[in-house]
């Protein structure tokens, strides 16, 4: 493959909030872009998020995720952007060549700059029978309910009280699923109180210092046994409670999808505050491998609002690394960095802030 044949300057892998934001910015600055996504539509996980975002003050505050997806989709309708959907990046080859499988067709694409905005995968926790049908990831439940209009069950146990656990519980109630209980192993709720309060008003018991011991059922989930835990997170004898549920929803965190960054030869580092292994990146979202950028959950688990800001930074910096310093790009970068700092100074920005700071202390 001759590099001079390439029509693209930047390839963006992933069309979630980070990828779309990166594309919109870079195309506006006049770079030739390809966006690749394995889904049939753009938007990543935004397409199932019916709740209103707190967002940053200038970006989508009070707008529902599903509507943000539509706005971003409009922004990438740009002559500089080529969209490849139903297309999986299956490999990174030397010199920034990506192997892409689209339907049954295999193609190779090259660009001098690549932004990986590959997102994250849901975590699973260990308990007997966690493999039974009826144990679902929270994101999967959201997809089935909010995108396809199908109910995964009638009575649910939610595990995890982070924002995803709280929000998806509320969305289950909206769709007509009874949330029998929401359990949290820590002694306090992980997500925003606003979300927890909505559940309490609907009468959903939120049980902190509780864990799931096992699921029951032969062919699929018919129940769950939960128990109170001690300070070492071990179940306390005699506190078992048997719940009759037909689904168990897990909202126990996410792990960055770093496989392609590994393959590209980026320096990948384990940072617990960022959710796992992430490619080392500068504040400009550039990795240690020349020409490779990362943005969004793939660079550390955070939220859609910050993913969009990181995407903007990555898009503008990738453009500058091709065309040199540009006042418009600088404005975008400085503005986004400022907003990221503001969000990460909030009480729920502590973890990602510590994670990102840790990265910067590790000298490249």
């Amino acid at each position: 493959m001759k590099k001079s044949d390439s029509e693209f300057e930047i390839i963006i892998v992933g069309s979630g909030p980070a990828g779309l934001s990166a594309a919109a910015v870079a195309a506006e600055l006049d770079a030739k872009i390809a966006i690749i996504d394995d889904n049939p539509i753009v938007g990543g996980q935004l397409i199932k998020q019916t709740h209103k975002f707190f967002g940053s003050k200038s970006h989508f505050c009070g707008v529902r995720g599903i509507d943000i997806a539509k706005i971003l989709e409009k922004r990438i309708q740009h002559p500089n952007i080529t969209l490849l959907l139903d297309a999986s990046v299956v490999g990174y080859y030397e010199d920034n060549i990506l192997g892409v499988l689209q339907k049954e067709r295999f193609i190779k694409l090259y660009a001098p700059k690549i932004i990986f905005a590959t997102g994250a995968a849901e975590n699973l926790i260990a308990f007997p029978n966690n493999d039974l049908p009826g144990v679902y990831g929270a994101g999967a439940v959201q997809t089935l309910m909010n995108v396809h209009g199908v109910l995964p069950g009638k009575r649910a146990l939610m595990v995890g009280s982070g924002n995803i656990g709280l929000i998806v519980s509320y969305q289950m109630m909206q769709a007509g699923i009874e949330v029998v209980a929401l359990i949290e192993i820590l002694d306090k709720i992980g997500g925003y109180n606003v979300h927890a309060a909505k559940l309490r008003r609907l009468g959903v018991p939120i049980l902190t210092s509780h864990t799931i011991k096992y699921a029951t059922g032969k062919d699929f989930v018919t129940g769950a046994v939960i128990a109170r835990v001690n300070k070492k997170f071990k179940p306390i004898k005699g506190t078992d409670k048997r719940l009759r549920v037909d689904m168990i929803c897990l909202a126990v965190g996410l792990t960055p999808l770093s496989e392609l960054l590994y393959q590209a030869g980026c320096e990948v580092i384990y940072i617990p505050e960022l959710g796992g292994n992430v490619a080392w990146h500068s504040e400009n979202m550039e990795t240690l491998k020349n020409g490779i950028f990362v943005a969004g959950d793939a660079s550390g688990i955070e939220e859609a609002s910050t993913a969009m800001l990181e995407g903007r930074i990555a898009g503008a910096c990738a453009f500058e690394s091709l065309h040199g310093k540009n006042p418009k790009a600088q404005e975008i970068i400085q503005e986004a960095k400022k907003e990221l700092r503001e969000i990460r100074q909030g009480p729920f920005g502590t973890k990602p802030r510590i994670g990102k700071e840790k990265l910067q202390t590790i000298a490249p």
């Binding site: 039974l132 049908p133 679902y136 396809h148 109910l151 909206q174 062919d219």
Partner: protein, 107 residues
């Protein structure tokens, strides 16, 4: 008339669901209904079907899990082709969907 589809959200405070044509398909030889171009898994769950495959060694039932084509929990045999991720493969009229036992059989 085939049995009425259950497990569908009829009313939602925020969302309306735009669906394709209602089509027939087959699960283990039994005729069911689903909407064209929805994931096969959505059509199966709407019809109350939860067990999608049986594992090779431990013979454990497996079903829907990640919904986004990442986890391989939902591999089924579709039109004689094994290892189809039904959470992302879209439903077409007349599809023959089968529970996959173990690794499935290559034709």
């Amino acid at each position: 008339m085939p049995k009425k589809i259950s497990n569908r959200i009829e009313h939602h405070p925020i969302l309306t669901f735009v669906k394709g044509r209602l089509v027939k398909f087959y699960f283990e030889g039994k005729e069911l209904q689903g909407y064209e171009n929805e994931p096969i898994a959505a059509a199966l769950i709407a019809n109350g079907i939860k067990v999608f495959r049986i594992t090779e060694k431990m013979k454990r039932p497996r079903g829907f899990f990640c919904a986004v084509g990442k986890c391989s929990s939902c591999l089924m045999t579709v039109d004689s082709k094994p290892n189809v991720m039904v959470c992302v493969e879209l439903l077409k009229e007349g599809m023959k969907v089968e529970r996959q036992i173990g690794r499935g059989k290559l034709v």
